[in-house]
């Protein structure tokens, strides 16, 4: 597999933007200690633009860097899940031709199905199972944690991720968008 230069740069810059968004751009949701995080919406956006490999790598690099710089420690179980979620959402890249500026009802539906599946499997199943295997934590606790994280991400991506993609699609030129003046 040969990554082209643009994808490599997209992974690098994307990871930096994710880090900044994760650190600064979060909205207090009203529930204490719970913020609505735009970073995952951005990860989903990037995955649709650049594909599954970019999605997985941005998820991986970012989660590892965020953990390391904020907590001084890396939770590999959740890092792996971030990479997984990025990769699965990235699979939607083949089905959504965002570069042609097409992002209507059908594409919004496709995007959201992919992201819901990715988050549900990733946070609802993979993260708790890895936590049990690695850290032997009680299953009730990790499944609840996973469910809360997954649900929060699904909602954020559904709202903010869709907005990002729609705005991006508007900036692309549609083929056949010119009409002949009579």
């Amino acid at each position: 597999m040969k990554l082209n230069t643009r994808t490599i740069v997209a992974i690098g810059i994307g990871a930096a933007v994710f880090l900044v968004l994760n650190r600064f751009v979060s909205i207090p949701s009203g529930i204490p200690n719970t913020t609505i995080n735009t970073a995952y919406a951005f990860l989903a956006f990037l995955a649709v633009l650049f594909g599954p490999i970019a999605g997985a790598l941005v998820g991986f690099i970012d989660h590892a860097l965020t953990d390391a710089t904020a907590y001084g420690s890396i939770w590999w179980s959740w890092v792996i899940v971030s990479a997984f979620v990025g990769a699965i959402i990235g699979l939607a890249w083949k089905r959504i031709d965002i570069e042609k500026g097409i992002f209507g009802g059908k594409e919004i539906l496709t995007f959201n199905i992919y992201q819901i599946v990715a988050n549900a499997v990733g946070w609802g199943l993979l993260a708790p199972v890895l936590d049990i295997i690695i850290y032997a934590e009680p299953s009730d606790k990790v499944f609840l944690q996973g469910a809360v994280a997954g649900l929060a991400n699904i909602v954020t991506i559904a709202v903010i991720g869709t907005i990002f993609l729609a705005i991006y699609a508007k900036t692309r030129t549609k083929t056949g968008s010119l009409s002949k003046e009579s």
Binding site: I8, A10, P28, A70, I74, P138
Partner: protein, 278 residues
């Protein structure tokens, strides 16, 4: 907002700083893997002692890491409380015996096993911290990409990581400019406005940031293509350092450490150290 602290490289001249980046990366990875696999109290305690010694050796000052340690201490406390609330007898399940010390209610008992289990969970999380901190503080970011490709990761991916590290500061600058410009125009992100307003406020900051970054991606990738990036199978790194005697010694020590650690943990077929079985 600019007061948010991030851990980063601190330049010093110590034996730890002078090790080759590849060595440090390998040690860091091996260390975290042992800490993830093992649940053996003895292995974890010895590991923690070792990492504190290296900490001393790298001459990292207390105030440089204090804020992270406070943060992680709080997090671990919260995690222990959550585990206890969800499963007050998890330790009993794991160690197979039950020594009740006292009880709050019929569900919330306090057993020796549970206390020992919580101690182990905390220890397990804690053991990784000094090494991760050490790695972050003593590795020059520009050498890090060279180290990644040194352990066999393709240079394309190493280069992506290197771009990330290089551009975090620039993007943070962009973010501050955009954020201040939008706030000057009346965007409010505080709790004083409705959730809907906050979301649209966030979008008004995030969207320009994302689009300026997409432009940056095109700019940088064009520049790299023009300079022939990706033409060859391998590339060399300006900041790569050659292996020295110290590196070989550290790596050999690490191999020994991993083997002993895993042997002690798994020799009885269990990853838990059980002091309750007579």
């Amino acid at each position: 907002m600019s007061s948010v602290k991030m851990l980063s490289y601190i330049k010093r001249d110590t034996p730890v700083h002078n090790l080759c980046g590849v060595t440090k990366l390998v040690v860091f990875l091996a260390w975290t893997i042992v800490c993830m696999l093992s649940y053996d109290t003895r292995v974890l305690l010895v590991t923690l002692c070792f990492s504190l010694i290296i900490f001393k050796l790298a001459r990292i000052r207390w105030r440089e890491v204090r804020f992270v340690l406070a943060f992680i201490g709080f997090f671990l406390l919260l995690n222990d409380v959550a585990i206890y609330i969800f499963s007050p007898e998890e330790g009993v399940n794991i160690y197979g015996t039950r020594h009740v010390l006292f009880q709050f209610s019929s569900r919330y008992t306090v057993t020796k096993e549970q206390l020992f289990y919580l101690f182990n969970v905390t220890l397990k999380y804690l053991t990784v911290v000094p090494v991760a901190l050490l790695f972050l503080i003593t590795t020059d970011p520009s050498e890090f990409a060279a180290s990644l490709s040194g352990i066999g990761i393709t240079y394309r991916i190493s280069y992506a990581v290197s771009i990330t590290l290089r551009y975090i500061a620039d993007i943070q600058n962009d973010f501050h400019n955009i954020s201040q410009a939008q706030q000057a125009r009346g965007v409010d992100l505080s709790k004083n406005v409705s959730l809907k307003k906050r979301i649209s406020g966030i979008a008004s900051i995030a969207v320009p940031l994302i689009f300026s970054s997409l432009e940056r991606i095109d700019l940088i990738s064009n520049a790299m293509d023009l300079r022939g990036f990706g033409k060859h199978k391998i590339r060399t790194w300006y900041s790569a350092r050659p292996f020295k005697t110290a590196d070989y010694i550290v790596l050999a020590g690490m191999v020994l450490f991993v083997l002993v650690g895993l042997y002690v943990t798994f020799h009885d077929g269990e990853r838990f150290f059980n002091p309750f079985v007579p």
